[in-house]
Symmetry: C2
Subunit: 364 residues, 2 copies
């Protein structure tokens, strides 16, 4: 994550991950999830916070989920149902379970199918926010497999290349693969220049938005550095696809966003997100390495590849070269020792909410 997204030092409260895990799980239990569901949901959010991906941890997500459960648009019960299934594929009606609730079980199912048949593909519809795609891909990595996850989330945020109106969601995708001794490869990115959540983080950190990241209020690409739009501007600017402008390749970002839309919304039977507002669908794949090649050689080859990136001589003005997953692994180690830096405002929300619903809140 670029420096500008990080919580400023003066505003940080460091919380040990176990403490935050306990409080978050208790909040999910209070909402009505069973122990297994509360554990899975919390693991997803805390995993993101541990990896340094605070845009998709408890800071931004949890209070929204709490609101949605209270309003009844999310279902805390484990009522999901497989509506189509083959030996290698499945489509799940989540019955409005939150993405972080049903997602771990959907990836487990894909892994199980891959173990038996080489590859497993599981789609999910009628579901809520997945909180990024990393956690699910790490599930596949832990099972010694290659993982792939996408989610279309809500649409009406991203402006098509040459377009003038919000259309797609930020439609993130993730891929991960294990290595023998090197931290695993793990890419988890929005198909927009930055994730929508990151703009909200900037409001909290006070940093600026870089040229080509978002649009102005007329939905034209903003090509100057500008202050982050405040909460009152929500819906009045659009996200730009990866690349930013056509000359710089935004048709690739828009094309990848559409691919995501097709797998998560059309293939699940939900129908086009930009036209029929719904919570969006998810897509999970696991590939068994042994079905294609010798797994021991694969792990050695991955080590060799990832080491070559980590040891690549850096260009002018840079300290090092990294691969997706490397900084995350370093961050996990650091945060497990010294705690996760949350913004004071986030801790205050936790304390207020816990008092309100009667959950013990030992975070400081």
């Amino acid at each position: 994550m670029l420096e500008r997204f990080k919580v400023p030092e003066a505003d940080r409260v460091y919380v040990m991950p176990e403490k935050m895990h306990r409080v978050t799980k208790d909040i999910f239990l209070k909402i009505g999830l069973d122990d297994d569901g509360a554990q899975d949901s919390t693991d997803v959010l805390l995993g993101n916070d541990l990896r340094g991906n605070e845009s998709h941890g408890v800071s931004n997500g949890l209070r929204g989920y709490v609101r949605s459960y209270a309003q009844g648009s999310l279902n805390p019960a484990t009522e999901w149902e497989v509506v189509r299934e083959t030996s290698t594929t499945a489509n799940i009606d989540a019955k409005h379970a939150l993405g972080v609730h049903v997602g771990p079980k959907a990836m487990d199912m894909a892994i199980d199918k891959a173990q038996q048949h080489g590859v497993g593909v599981v789609t999910v519809f009628n579901t809520g926010h997945l909180a990024g795609c990393s956690h699910y891909v790490y599930q596949a990595i832990e099972a010694g497999m290659i993982g792939h996850t996408m989610t279309a989330g809500g649409a009406g945020i991203t402006i098509p290349t040459w377009g003038s109106r919000p259309f797609l969601g930020t439609n993130p995708l993730a891929y991960g693969a294990p290595a023998r001794t090197m931290p695993p490869y793990m890419l988890d990115v929005a198909t927009t220049q930055v994730a929508a959540n990151k703009i909200w983080l900037l409001q909290r950190t006070g940093a600026t938005v870089l040229p080509g990241w978002i649009t102005d209020e007329n939905y034209e690409p903003e090509l100057e550095e500008t202050p982050a739009p405040g909460p009152e501007s929500r819906g009045k600017y659009g996200m730009l696809p990866i690349g930013g402008t056509r000359e710089n390749g935004s048709h690739k970002g828009f094309g990848l966003g559409l691919m995501n839309e097709i797998f998560c919304n059309e293939l699940t039977g939900l129908g086009p997100g930009p036209l029929n507002p719904h919570q969006g669908g998810h897509f999970f794949v696991a590939y068994d390495i042994e079905a294609f090649t010798d797994k021991e050689k694969f792990l050695d080859d991955m080590d060799e590849l990832l080491k070559a990136v980590a040891e690549h001589p850096p260009g002018k003005g840079h300290d090092r070269v990294v691969y997706p997953g490397l900084l995350e692994a370093e961050e996990i180690e650091k945060r497990q020792k010294s705690g996760i830096p949350y913004h004071t405002e986030v801790i205050e929300w936790f304390e207020g909410h816990c008092a309100e619903v009667g959950v013990e809140c030992d975070l400081r």
Copy 2:
């Protein structure tokens, strides 16, 4: 394709596709491919030319293939062998068949497995150039499926984000999905800002390279508009990942390029392309829509989605909004009627080569 890549009007020779197909197929037959192999190989190249993707048609590719067959680094015989197989996956040793030769058969195999089990995944190693990924994805579309193809090709071209040396290939990926009446969705893009072939096309058309597309001779991002590097500069500049710079998201392009490298080279058992030079591997997937949802609804939903993009109000300075595959479909119609515009230099190569090897060359 941006205007700058197109053959200038004064240098164009229009050739009807059937004529170019006949001559190209005869050249492949002369090399020693059997009729089926020559037909498949020619279909791939002419398909690219018909869609307006001349960077991956007969103009740039064929003379290189001819040279490699002559040198013995490509094998014209159909000797490939499946080395691992499950009901839904396969890994093929191509025994140095050209990508355009073995590729159509590999995707047929993926489609067949998907028809039986919902999804089919086929990888290929010890193989040559795939000439882009579009053709194979269209095979899946024609079978009523979602298709996905990647190829790692040769490495040592693309500079990692923050890096200083050529490392990955341009590692393209393609996705396609059918619709009912709208031209299908079909995205086929390099994970670099532009395909390497496109820089060579610019040398022929005399257009410039835009900021952030390639590096200078010190492998630092070239952030000014510059003349296209000439053939004497081959190897002296690097391609930049999608995004161009880290601030503009090049870690996403680099991360996608690595993903491609892992699926095409590590999963096939070839090992890291950047470290052990080889011709690279390919990756083909077909998804059976009916395994997940009602196919008739899917086709209607795709129509609705793609129509909404094609009818999206364009932004300032633009005439229309398009989705990947739409311009290609329009170009096919145009070129089937009026012929494919080749550069005179390309036609002269054909005439010279045909005279040399004794193939009839009726192109003008």
